[in-house]
Amino acid sequence: MAEPDRAPSSPRVQPLPDEEAVVALAVSGDRPAFARLMEHYQSACYGVAWRLLGDPDQAADATQDAFIHAYDALRSYRGGIFRSWLMRITANASYDILRRAQRRPTTALPEPAEGKAELPDIGAVNPFDEARKSELYRFLEQALRLLPEDQRVAVVLCDVYGMDYGEVASMTDSPIGTVKSRIHRGRLRLREILAPQRELFER
């Protein structure tokens, strides 16, 4: 049986080559070191926030809040995977904004499917294939937003950002078994949602 194309333990955002040293500098109060870390992870943090919130402005707010919280909490950082630590702060900041938005039902719902995704490469070999991929990504993003919150965050962290189950469990303060179950149910639900667009998955 073939292995999946990408194992959950191979994240799309790789740590900095000298991340341990940079983190140590940041913890000791070195502001440029902290800024370097935030610059490296800003896209991942923003991506998580955007996929949890579904709104570019709210995602930017959540990411900005996460950076500030991370800066304040840096002295209490006790090692571990810095990316997970930062992502957890980002997810919590996103939840805070989500809860505030839910307490204000008059807030306009976010427009679906209009993210700031990178455009396909103009010099791509097959424009038709690129167009198909863009369409596929658009439907995937829409489908992600239809998942329940717990499944969405688990699927986003594990499948989109390549975190392993233990990392997601640590981030969400949930048992690994629960995380696995959420991910499996989330994937099954995505498959159901995307059933009408099945032809987009055929290569």
Binding site: R6, A60, Y71, E118, I183, R187
Partner: protein, 234 residues
């Protein structure tokens, strides 16, 4: 819908995710390999997993600040830094004021002929005015009530003598041009006034002390300010 003969969907999802316990479940693997319903489902889940992993990165909708403002960091964990920063500016202002006053006071006290007029203490000016008035001027020149008048009378011993030897009637109509006798008396009194001025000198503001204190305070404020700035940037 779950068929009785098919494994649970979550088991299929676990197999699609290549979880070890699913991969080692021979009955599951065997079933999927020969099932027209489950095999495509597992394949679709794998394709879905791959597609999720390929989702493009998303750029922030606006530039983000990676660092909070410096003052927030400066006070974080070190609240006394904020207090120090707050007092350095007024301390520097006071220091500069002390230095200016002290420097001018010290310079003008040593100046020639200056202290005899504008630079002298008010008491001395009043005493001089009284002494230079002919014929009992010390008694007739109006002095401000209270300490100034008392100081003018007591600090200048010659003024009482001058008053007692004044020409009769001078107390009522002081002469603008004193006689020789009066001039000698006035000269005597002026020398006495000079002695009085020396005594008054001792109660003037300590300009040198002010100057020194200002320099020390300014240096301390500058050092503190530099320290706070370094800690804030750290």
């Amino acid at each position: 819908m779950q068929h009785l003969n098919h494994p649970e969907d979550e088991r299929l999802a676990a197999l699609a995710a290549s979880e070890p316990d699913a991969l080692t479940d021979s009955s599951l693997v065997t079933h999927v390999a020969g099932c027209a319903r489950c095999a495509p489902m597992v394949q679709e889940l794998r394709t879905l997993h791959s597609a999720l992993a390929e989702l493009p990165d998303i750029r922030p909708s606006r530039p983000l600040r990676f660092l909070p403002a410096v003052p927030e960091r400066a006070s974080h964990g070190f609240p006394w830094l904020g207090v120090l920063r707050g007092i350095t500016a007024p301390a520097m202002a006071i220091a500069v004021l002390l230095i200016v006053v002290g420097a001018f006071g010290t310079a003008f006290r040593n100046g020639v002929g200056f202290m005899g007029s504008a630079g002298a203490a008010p008491e001395l000016n009043q005493t001089l005015s009284g002494a230079q008035s002919s014929g009992g001027g010390a008694a007739t020149v109006p002095l401000p009530a209270g300490k100034s008048a008392a100081a003018g009378a007591s600090a200048v011993p010659g003024s009482a003598q001058f008053q007692s030897r004044g020409t009769p009637g001078a107390s009522a109509t002081p002469s603008l041009v004193p006689s020789n006798h009066d001039a000698a008396a006035a000269g005597h009194s002026l020398s006495a006034v000079s002695r009085g001025a020396t005594e008054v000198d001792t109660v003037r503001p300590p300009y040198a002390l002010m100057l020194g204190a200002g320099v020390v305070l300014l240096a301390a404020a500058l050092v503190t300010r530099g320290y706070v700035r370094r800690r804030s940037l750290a």
